[in-house]
């Protein structure tokens, strides 16, 4: 990750002479419509600092991850793409199309082998010889594996790439498959969510650029800094949960007071994500703050853990802030599904008590 070698360095390693390098710079200047005077300046830049190349591929998906990425407020995406990295391939944003787009991919593979970050939005379908998703006349799966081969690290954007997401929900007719099942030999950083929070996406990339390493990951391959705790653990409505104050129906008195949405099906207690801390769209809000429970969109198989409005009591989950995904995964925590129900009952008692107290004080 820490490699900062320049374009010229790569040329040298490949046995290319200074003379050929200068020629390349001249051709580059010409192909950009610039005069020959620009060639030495391109050469100078290439000999010094380079921006890390990023290849962003799209499989079966809905493009919500790209849309989320451009929502980033810190850093701004305009700064990301102009100054911080070199987004050499993105079907959503790139100027070139068709052959010229494919050429950009091949050039990166050739010139930056082992140096670029591969960012994957969506996943490959395996049914129908992979032809449920075709890019350049070939299965997306082939493009994905070809580009993974030369990547130094792979980012799995969103729940599609990380977990399969909606097209992999039962019965998964295309056999849409998360990317770690088809890329076995590269570090994969999973950033689940449908989509992930913009500042989480850019945060992960800038962490890698700034510190020259992959951020610490949990057992499931997610950065601990953003996915280490459940939404419930840091939810600002948690005191209402603890006090047994729940919304009982949409738009009821308790909803208007901002009470806990657990009984409305909120998945906050079982969902690892940064929504209740980083929040969404420059910190404006997050689902629970806007009155709807969390649907658990960063969790594996969340589409098949519905219906969304059925409360969580059936789902076995630990109930301690300290229990991160690693510990749960290691089976360190006993099944405590009943704990939620017990807690709810206790909370109801507490609420009854506080209601009668309130009545008295009035």
């Amino acid at each position: 990750m820490a490699s900062n070698e320049s374009f010229y360095d790569v040329f040298r390693q490949q046995g290319i002479s200074r003379r050929s390098f200068n020629k390349f710079c001249s051709i580059t200047a010409a192909s950009l419509g610039l005069g020959p005077a620009f060639a030495p300046r391109i050469a100078h830049a290439m000999e010094t600092k380079r921006r890390t190349p990023v290849i962003w591929l799209n499989g079966l998906e809905c493009t919500c991850c790209s849309e989320s990425f451009i929502r980033s407020s810190h850093p701004l995406v305009s700064d990301m793409v102009l100054s911080m990295l070199s987004l050499d391939y993105s079907e959503v944003l790139m100027a070139a199309a068709g052959h010229q787009a494919e050429a950009a991919l091949q050039e990166t593979l050739r010139d930056n082998y082992g140096e670029y970050i591969l960012a994957v939005e969506g996943n490959p379908p395996l049914n129908e010889d992979g032809m449920f998703c075709i890019v350049g006349g070939r299965p997306f799966l082939e493009q994905l594996q070809e580009m993974a081969a030369g990547a130094k690290a792979v980012i799995a954007w969103g729940s599609c790439a990380s977990n399969g997401c909606v097209q992999a929900a039962k019965p998964n007719p295309t056999q849409a498959t998360p990317i770690h099942k088809v890329i076995r030999d590269k570090p994969i950083i999973k950033i689940p969510g449908c989509p992930p929070i913009a500042e989480v996406m850019t945060g992960v990339v800038t962490y890698m650029l700034t510190f020259g390493e992959i951020p610490p990951l949990d057992r499931l391959g997610r950065p601990k800094m953003f996915y280490g705790q459940r939404i419930h653990d840091k939810c600002y409505r948690r005191p209402h949960f603890d006090a047994g104050q729940f919304a009982e129906a949409w738009d009821d008195e308790n909803s208007r007071k901002g009470y806990c949405l657990y009984k409305m099906g909120c998945r906050g207690p079982t969902t690892y994500n940064a929504c209740s801390t980083v929040r969404w769209n420059d910190g404006v809000s997050f689902p629970i703050q806007s009155g709807h429970g969390c649907i658990g969109c960063s969790e594996e198989n969340f589409w098949d853990n519905g219906p969304f409005y059925e409360r969580l009591a059936k789902i076995n989950t630990p109930f301690f802030v300290e229990s991160d995904a690693d510990r749960i995964g290691l089976g360190a925590v006993a099944v405590v599904g009943t704990a939620i129900a017990a807690h709810t009952a206790a909370s109801a008692l507490q609420r009854a008590r506080s209601n009668s107290n309130a009545a008295k004080s009035e």
């Binding site: 830049a45 380079r50 809905c62 493009t63 919500c64 006349g137 097209q167 219906p307």
Partner: protein, 596 residues
């Protein structure tokens, strides 16, 4: 071979074949192939949707109240519009009436989507078809400033501002790492803007990239996040509490103030940046009159934006509804989404099987059974297609038809129908643009007409956000705080069986969902989406769709560079995940590929 299509186009596939795959700056995966004649004019066009996810089969057997979340994931670009269509569909089936505030908030969210989506489309998905980034490096910043100030009051217009930006761009280009601009068609003779106009447009490309993230905060306030905010059958999930205890956890005066500020800024950006840029760019491309396709003959809109809650009749919809066929602007036909004869989907040239391959099916009776099979004249192999055989099946998109007619949908369709209906909100802005550019009405039926209609509609939508914001405030002032009707929330209140249809006008055009609920569960769910209308393949009779029609007869300056093809295809704002989401009813597993 020359073929005359029943809908009036002449196809000739004898010339050089050009393949564009992937088509970029769109949502999803699309392939375009054309044949050009000896004068580099497009004489045959083939549109192939190259992805299929199948959400409708996944919906089968699920809780209808969850359907909005699944269908919302059909598309993350027009995020929310499928969810809105879905809750309307379920409400129609179960006869649920929603509160006025819920309707108003939904309209504000839908108009926020329009404003955002159209703006991002123009600058980030379409502008580079008209704007030469490299040319902007040779612009004079002072002259750029004069140009900018001559067309708008937008404050970021000083010579220093443009000089700084140009310096940054030069530094970027000199780095040799062109990133998103790599391998673009810079210097292509089809680019007509002077360097100063290019520099101004690039500046606004970057400003719009920074600004667009503000617009969606309206979704975040009411729906908790964007992309993919939350919705609710029976209303909206956000309660209103303006002044009482706990108001901080609901829609309160601080939240409303945030929405108001964003509406103000959005209107300003659209009026002072987007529209002036659009007019300035259009003025240099007035002679480029190609790309009309079906727009001069057949256009369709379902209408949207119900002024008052629960009334989806044409008279209550602020976006116009209707169909025009055979170019007769004097007659706007009514559209009935329930009529089994009107809207039908065909699969003669799509990778699906029907019980009767050449018959159409209404969405309530829709079948989606995938069958990937290439025609005998395909060049390449099953998994390495060099060129497609359009005489056989050639797309993952179906071909929807209205009374048997291929139709164009989208902003231009809406504006033509509004114009033909003599609706002043649509007719007057169109006439003003035509007058300002000194163009005849026929100029509307073109690639640029599509692009211009989208810009006008963006301004319309931003203004309507203000209208519905005022309506919300008035309603709250009158003491109405209701945002959800839960009387039919519990499944035991539902009938044993029910059918419903819901519609919106998505930013890209007419969108309909059809549901069949049985025993509290989804029995069948079908969506017919805008890009299916526009990008669909030929039908059994050989009628071509809107994309294919629009590409015909366009000259290409450089056959190696598909600039003109991109221009016209982008003017539709393609959304392929939308168009190809359809599901196999039984989800059968076909041939498997081994996972290594």
């Amino acid at each position: 071979m020359i073929t005359e299509t029943p809908n009036g186009f002449s196809l000739d596939d004898s010339g050089q074949r050009i393949v564009v795959d992937p088509v970029t700056r769109i949502e999803g995966h699309l392939r375009i192939e054309v044949n050009i004649d000896e004068n580099n004019v497009i004489r045959n066009a083939v549109s192939t949707g190259t992805m299929w996810r199948g959400l409708e089969v996944i919906l089968k057997g699920r809780d209808p109240r969850d359907a909005w979340a699944f269908t919302q994931r059909i598309c993350g670009v027009c995020t929310g519009t499928h969810a809105l269509t879905s809750v309307r569909t379920v409400e129609d089936a179960l006869n649920i009436q929603i509160p006025e505030n819920a309707n108003t908030i939904r309209n504000i969210m839908q108009m926020a989507l329009y404003t955002h989506d159209h703006l991002v489309h123009f600058y980030h998905l379409h502008a580079l078809d008209w704007v030469d980034v490299v040319s902007s490096l040779s612009a004079d910043p002072k002259a750029t400033s004069e140009l900018a100030q001559s067309i708008s009051d937008w404050p970021k217009s000083s010579p220093g501002y443009f000089r700084d930006l140009q310096t940054r761009l030069k530094k970027f280009v000199e780095s040799g790492q062109l990133g998103l601009f790599r391998n673009g068609y810079w210097g292509n003779p089809a680019y007509k803007l002077p360097p100063e106009a290019n520099l101004m447009a690039v500046a606004h490309y970057l400003e719009a990239l920074d600004f667009q993230k503000e617009i969606v905060k309206i979704h975040t306030v009411f729906g908790g996040k964007n992309p993919h905010p939350n919705w609710l059958v029976g209303g909206v999930p956000c309660p209103i509490n303006v002044a009482d205890t706990g108001a901080v956890g609901a829609i309160n005066i601080e939240r409303l103030n945030l929405v108001k500020r964003i509406i103000d800024e959005s209107r300003q950006f659209v009026e002072q940046v987007y529209l002036p840029d659009l007019m300035a760019i259009a003025s240099f491309y007035k002679d480029w009159t190609y790309g009309g396709g079906l727009s001069s003959t057949n256009v369709l809109s379902y209408g949207d934006i119900p002024d008052n809650a629960n009334d989806y009749s044409a008279g209550n919809l602020l976006l116009p509804r209707g169909a025009i066929i055979n170019g007769n602007l004097n007659e706007v036909h009514d559209v009935d989404l329930r009529n089994p004869e009107e809207i039908q989907e065909f699969v003669s040239h799509s990778w699906y099987n029907y019980p009767n391959q050449d018959a159409g099916l209404h969405p309530w009776d829709g079948v989606t059974d995938p069958h990937f099979e290439l025609g005998p004249n395909t060049r390449g192999t099953r998994t390495n297609i060099e060129s497609i055989d359009e005489s056989a099946r050639y797309s993952w998109i179906k071909s929807p038809r209205w009374n048997g007619n291929a139709m164009e949908v989208g902003p231009l369709a809406r504006y033509i129908i509004g114009y033909a209906s003599n609706n002043p909100e649509f007719k007057e802005p169109v006439e003003k643009v035509l007058t300002d550019l000194n163009l005849p009405v026929s100029a509307l039926f073109s690639t640029l007409g599509r692009t211009a209609a989208r810009g006008l509609e963006c301004a319309w939508a931003a203004e309507k956000m203000q209208y519905f914001y005022n309506k919300l405030i008035t309603n709250i002032r009158n003491g109405d705080l209701a945002t959800a009707n839960v009387s039919l929330w519990e499944p035991h209140t539902w009938p044993h069986e029910a059918k419903g249809v819901g519609f919106t006008e998505a930013p890209r055009g007419a969108l309909g969902h059809w549901i069949h609920i049985k025993d509290k569960r989804i029995e069948n769910y079908q969506a017919v989406v805008p890009t299916t209308w526009n990008a669909g393949p030929r039908d059994a009779q050989g009628n071509i769709g809107a994309y294919e029609a629009a590409l015909l007869n366009t000259p290409v300056a450089n056959a190696e560079q598909p600039l003109e093809i991109l221009r016209t295809i982008h003017s539709f704002d393609p959304c392929l995940a939308c168009s190809t989401h359809i599901m196999s009813p039984d989800g059968e597993v076909l041939a498997n590929v081994k996972v290594r």
